[in-house]
Symmetry: D3
Subunit: 136 residues, 6 copies
């Protein structure tokens, strides 16, 4: 029996959308207020979705406490109360768009989770903008 289990988490971070090779004018033209050189920020909300076989004895796909700990150590501790552009090497050469952040989170978790699980991540930048990886 295959099912999916979803666990949520959150982190609060500063960021900006800015292509260094472009002029400030071009950055503002494309990214609007998101290009503010002094940064802005968000309460990011994450949904981590694992699908896999349900263990017939425990009734679980994965021990939720284990999943919660992995998310805390690998994602929340890494990104919470950080400036994604300045503090996080993951985004040294990568725009901190919600699409890229959700992909980075997926990649980090993918390496920590057994291959037997299918993994999907959703990331809310605001309650009105969010992204998913993979796209399905």
């Amino acid at each position: 029996m295959r099912a999916a289990i979803i666990r949520t988490a959150h982190f609060n971070a500063a960021h900006q959308l800015y292509v260094k090779e472009w002029s400030q004018e071009k950055n503002f033209e494309l990214f609007g207020k998101c290009a503010n050189p002094n940064f802005h920020g968000h309460n990011y909300e994450i949904e981590v979705r694992l699908s896999g076989e349900v263990d017939p004895v425990t009734g679980m796909i994965i021990n939720l406490k284990e999943l919660k700990d992995i998310i805390k150590e690998e994602i929340e501790d890494r990104f919470d109360h950080k400036n994604l552009n300045l503090d996080c090497p993951e985004f040294k050469d990568l725009m901190t768009s919600v699409e890229n952040i959700v992909y980075v989170i997926w990649k980090i978790l993918r390496e920590k989770l057994d291959d037997k699980f299918d993994l999907r991540v959703r990331l809310y930048e605001t309650p009105r903008n969010f992204a998913e990886y993979p796209a399905d």
Copy 2:
């Protein structure tokens, strides 16, 4: 790299469920209170989901400002503070069920968006009833 980006929007509208060819009794029998000839209404909430390639420079599937503007001009301005049955030609010969409304929204947006994007729309009629098109 393919991911999905979702943007929400909303509009407030009046409507009724009513098949003109049927008697009022039959309408009330099937649709209950939703057949009220004087209309009722909802705060409709929309989720527009685009999947596609993430641009390696901008980190974006589509410029969110562009997507937001399309949704505002094509959906919010068209349906907000309207009577879907009386004011909107899209529903002249089409029941204003949540299934049909979500399909109409999908069709309008599909024509305005590049074919390279996959498009899915979710529409909340209330926080307790909602529909998606396509069904996946």
Copy 3:
């Protein structure tokens, strides 16, 4: 020991903001899209708040089932799937603004509830606009 108990409910209704004595121009000038003569609508959410003495045996201010039934019979059955302007005599000569609707709900419930309770009502027209009566 005095505490407060709050119960929520909801109804979906059509309405318009329109002063009959004014021209259509003046109505649109003041009320904007809310003056649409064909109506628009909302998912109204209600919070009914009673404060009073907690019964030392039952631990209750009022039996929640009783409160739920009063709200259903007096408010939900009266306003759900209605056109507030056309179907509801309460608003025959009263604008269906969120301020007036919350007051009408308060007045109806006030007559059905024992005087020993203090009563406050909050009404959400949308998640972004709401009103309270009395003002405290």
Copy 4:
């Protein structure tokens, strides 16, 4: 035209995670506080998602009132204000994990709904933990 319609519902129940064949130590080691022998509980929220053909006359995949009644009779009346471990024969030999509960709900609804509908169920144990069946 195929679309999907989703209806939500809820029930409040007590449960515990406990494998009878294991020692209390092993249960606490694996399930943590969820193994409390005196039970704990949740406000479970359900999303029932049906996909199918939209009827060209009524605009509906299924009459929402009929779907609402099936969910009430088959799920809410069965599980609301119950102890899932003690009161519900469905879980006599099955862990009351969120994965198993969502599967049991799916199976009950699957038998009551026409085969022409695809059925998916999501179950929130808390706003932070939820499961889906099937996994897609």
Copy 5:
């Protein structure tokens, strides 16, 4: 300058509404399904509201980390994943109604917090039922 700061928390617990001195019939008559002798349960959500002077240097009424720790140690650790009726001496002779639980939480926090703060607590039993103490 006086302001108010609010911090939320949550715990998941089982309980029942049952007056031991009454017959089972009378309990079911008054409390309905809430009297189930095998218990049911809820995801309780708490809002702790402190009002007081804002410190001119730190800009804070109270250090939020300190408040968060007090709520965790005194409320979450005490009530989370517990059976309020069986596991918690606070309710040995007190109905576990939402009114009484909010009062018990207020009393515990009141003793741990400096008298210079005004304290109000709101407790959600479900998103549809909640209580406040004091009543204001």
Copy 6:
């Protein structure tokens, strides 16, 4: 007849909690991760609550469009996508704690609104931390 009307708004901003006169150690000791010198950020949500007389003709305390425009021009345009510490002179010598930000918002709005209205503001820094001014 006095009632209250509430309008919500939001802005996304970066900030830090940092007393310049203190060592970095002391700042981290008191403010924890909030003292990150590179900033973090939030989706701030605002509730602006006006109480006053309901106009007998329009049914309104204030024209909601007017209130919405004042909040947009005075608060959203000023703080959205900004670094509160670096971009906003209001916080040049004032900690950007949620208590101080809600007070600053109140003061700005108080000057723009007629004295006949009572004004209260609630500000969510996250869904789990929020503040109100005045304290009531």
